[in-house]
Structure formats: C-alpha cells, structure tokens
Symmetry: C2
C-alpha cells in the first residue's frame, strides 16, 4: 500500500503510511472533528445561512476560523458557497446533499452530549 498524503480538517498535511493508516474513526474525526467544523455544518442544516449570521450562531469562533472551516468544507463538497450580488454582496452558505450525510452522526453526538449528567466526574 502506498502512503497517502492528505489534508485533514485543519488543513494540516497528514501522511498516512501503510501500517499507520488510522482507522475509520480517526479518519472521520479528521474530516469533521476539527474545531468548529461540526458546529458549522450543524448550523447549516435548516437552510442557507449568511456569513455573519453563521459567525454569530457558532458563537465563540472568530471570523478567521469560520472562514477557514467554510473553505475547507467547501473544498470537501460538504458545503456550497453562493454569492448574491446585492450591494454590498451577501454570501450564503448551504449544506450539500453530501454534507447532509454527516448530519446523522452529528445528531447522535448532540444527543449524547445533551444526555451527559450534570455531575460529571471531571473535565467532561
């Protein structure tokens, strides 16, 4: 098996060697587990959202982060970018059909997180 060279969620160069190839869990996490990535995708589930609105919805992430993640998601075909020629221009981000295939997992994650007891051991 040849070594694969890819970019993960954060644009980091990842070299997957023969016997070091991460399992599906790890690969998946590298795709949608990056900081803010899942959250961004999730907030697009109900329809197109404009850049600044998205930034507000994903509260906590800087514009820089939102931009980087969106570019990545776009490059991966999970999100579609649409420029509306108003003045000033507005930009709509929309989840693609492919992107929607990840929502099932994200919803499971959401349910899991929300089910966590309030008195967790530590750090959870």
């Amino acid at each position: 098996m040849r070594a694969r060279v890819e970019e993960d969620t954060k644009g980091r160069r990842q070299v997957y060697e023969a016997c070091l190839e991460p399992c599906a869990i790890e690969r998946g996490m590298r795709i949608i587990g990056g900081k803010w990535t899942g959250s961004i995708l999730w907030h697009l589930k109900d329809g197109p959202v404009r850049f600044n609105d998205l930034a507000r919805m994903v509260g906590g992430a800087s514009k820089k982060m939102i931009t980087e993640r969106l570019r990545q998601l776009e490059g991966q075909g999970l999100v579609h970018r649409d420029v509306v020629k108003t003045s000033p221009v507005t930009v709509q981000y929309e989840i693609t059909e492919f992107g929607r295939t990840a929502l099932g997992f994200l919803d499971e994650l959401r349910k899991w997180t929300e089910s966590l007891p309030a008195d967790l051991p530590k750090n959870v």
Copy 2:
C-alpha cells in the same frame, strides 16, 4: 449565566462565556473529538486491552499521546485503568459503562467514513 472554566480533550483550558457557550456538537467534539481519543475508545469496545497492544491498535499515535489521552479518558470516567501485579506489571484499560454510551455515535461516524466514495472532491 456564569462563565465556566473547563478542560477539553486536549487538556486545554477553555473558558465558556455566557453567550459564547458552544452548542452541544462543539462541546461533544471537545470531549471525544481530540486527536486519537475516539480511536482509542473505539478500540476498547471488545474488552480490556493492554497499553502496548493499544498503542499498536491505534497505530500512528506515540506512546506519549496514548498516555495523555488515556489519562484524560480515565479522568472523565470513560475508561478504567487496572494494574495487574505481574512482573513486570501489566496494565489493562477497559471501557466503562459510561464510555459505552459514546460508542453509538462513534459507530455512526465509522459507517459514515467507510461510506465515503473513493473519488472524493478534495481533502476528504
């Protein structure tokens, strides 16, 4: 609402302000989305695994990483550490009942990743 100060998967200090509190997706990702975290948990699903065996199973991660993640998972109550007094000592890591509650969506993630077409747009 007061600001919460916690540690995420990677032990980073995270300050969650009132209106900046991440959504469940993001919080969940901070718990099990860290590098190697999901993979480690996943590889414990079939029963206790010893340290070095785990390191091999999660191929690619250094011992340092395995150790750090295991300590974290242990502190969160997702994994239990058991020292067996052989000579030299062996250490077994076992997923807890609580930890098992995370396997559901991890399996969703696995299925999602494995379903990805071979000819993906980019970076996926």
